[in-house]
């Protein structure tokens, strides 16, 4: 089973080949990730695939503890990194693997990479983070939505009305100024995503564009997974010109 994971054997998992596909959409907050996940899910379902979507911090095991820890801000960096790993492990074993076994497509709104980046910018070594998540399944496709910090900033403000404390990395004390902290933090995360892009063979998609354009590029990456060649770009159906004075004129 080690070939299906990043090197660490998972005890107690089915040894037969899991049929489903695992597609991961990664990207910073404000990169349009959630929108793309929704669009892709809709399209995959229309195409006839059973889709299970999953994200970070949605398991029943420790999500409560993570929320509590975040409110109190009292946890050490290693403890917090392990909390996220446990949460991920729970989802992997109780949600992702069963869905893959059932032949479903699992669409993950972020995966171990975001968790690793967060842990590393908070002091974990790259090697520790990489090996900690060695039990994670290798996705069939990782799409990385790459957007400029200014775009992230505007989308973040649009979404929260301000900047989010955690997405600005305020706990790192990079700057007392929320704006400045946001840029410094995003820059550090970007640096981690950069080496992971090579190490984990991300498909980087320019996300400084409108959602439909991003979606069309992502679809072309997803299509070959199902053994088909990418469809030619959908031409917008031309509406028949309504009869009226203009037509008759």
């Amino acid at each position: 089973m080690t070939d299906r994971t990043y090197g660490t054997r998972l005890p107690g998992l089915p040894s037969d080949e899991l049929g489903g596909k695992l597609i991961v959409i990664e990207g910073a907050d404000g990169s349009g990730r959630s929108t793309e996940v929704a669009l892709l899910k809709e399209w995959l379902e229309v195409e006839g695939h059973a889709v299970v979507d999953t994200g970070l911090r949605r398991s029943t095991l420790v999500s409560e503890e993570i929320d509590r820890a975040k409110r109190g801000h009292t946890l050490g960096a290693t403890t917090l990194a392990l909390l996220y790993a446990a949460d991920f492990g729970d989802q992997l074993e109780n949600k992702i693997v069963p869905a893959l076994s059932a032949g479903s497509t699992v669409l993950a709104d972020r995966y171990i990479y975001t968790l690793m980046a967060r842990a590393i910018v908070r002091g974990a070594s790259r090697d520790w983070a990489r090996r900690l998540y060695g039990f994670a399944f290798r996705p069939d496709l990782v799409v990385f939505l790459d957007a400029r910090p200014e775009i992230l900033l505007h989308r973040s403000i649009g979404k929260y009305g301000s900047l989010d404390y955690w997405e600005s990395g305020m706990d790192l004390c990079l700057s007392r100024d929320l704006f400045e902290s946001f840029f410094l933090y995003q820059d550090r995360l970007a640096r981690e995503f950069e080496w992971m892009t090579r190490e984990y063979a991300f498909h980087t998609v320019d996300a400084n564009r409108r959602p439909e354009e991003v979606d069309s590029v992502v679809r072309d990456l997803v299509t070959p997974l199902y053994g088909r060649s990418p469809k030619p770009p959908v031409r917008r159906r031309v509406r028949p010109t309504p009869p009226g004075p203009a037509a008759s004129a």
Binding site: T8, L75, T78, T79, A85, E93, N94, L132
Partner: protein, 233 residues
């Protein structure tokens, strides 16, 4: 910053004494006695045991109840617990120059997770933040003896302690013996690879305590004493 007397094992100014062994091996009794003695000698002592911290004990309980825990998540939950304990209560006194007496340390995780089938290298990686102790005592005792002690003191055997989740046996006592047997085998193995000090714990309390005191004396040679201070964390 305190920089004097760095330990040759981990580089911190304090000293780290670890007590490992099966439940009922007598290690907690011995750790408490050694702590008392060290404090009486004038050392600053910080004693701490690895039982669940508030943060995750509720989660582990809930997870156990719902049967949500797999060997991987079970291992990670304990790692969280240990990391929290380490970052909060072990590292600060170690940096402040205390003699830190740990009732259970990362070795507990190595043996338990291995008995549950987790990849040993993976477990070791996770715990790589835990520094090498100055001495790690392994209280070796046959599983039968720990079971007798448990029964004698009317302690209940818990589901996970018996490894019932692994389906080794339908019977609690039988499962306990098998699972603890696996753990003991793993302890016996790593005691050699990790150079632990093996203590024959089938003997009475007194001679064992005397042995421990002789074992730590050389480690503490030249180690500064302060006002006698014993903190039970």
């Amino acid at each position: 910053m305190i920089r004097e007397n760095p330990s040759p094992k981990h580089g911190y100014p304090g000293r780290l004494f670890v007590f490992e062994g099966l439940d009922g091996s007598g290690k907690s009794t011995q750790a408490a006695l050694l702590g008392k003695w060290l404090a009486a000698q004038g050392y600053r002592v910080f004693r701490t045991e690895w039982n669940s911290s508030e943060l995750v004990s509720s989660t582990i309980r809930r997870g156990k109840k719902k049967g949500l825990l797999t060997p991987t998540t079970f291992s990670l939950m304990h790692a969280i617990d240990f990391a929290d304990r380490f970052e909060r209560t072990i590292l600060p006194p170690l940096r402040a120059g205390y003699v830190v007496v740990c009732d259970r340390y990362s070795f507990t995780a190595f043996v338990r997770d291995a008995a549950r089938g987790c990849d040993p290298d993976w477990v070791r990686t996770i715990y790589s933040f835990a520094p090498t102790p100055d001495v790690a005592f392994y209280f070796r005792v046959p599983v039968k003896v720990t079971l007798q002690r448990k029964i004698a003191s009317r302690l209940k055997i818990s589901y996970y302690e018996a490894g019932m989740d692994l389906g080794l046996s339908e019977d609690l006592h039988d499962s306990y013996e098998r699972f603890q047997g696996r753990i003991k085998k793993e302890y016996d193995r790593i005691a050699l690879t990790d150079r632990m000090t093996i203590i024959d714990s089938t003997r009475p309390v007194e001679p064992i305590q005397a042995e421990l005191r002789s074992a730590v004396r050389p480690i503490l040679q030249g180690f500064p004493k302060g006002e006698a201070l014993l903190h039970d964390g």
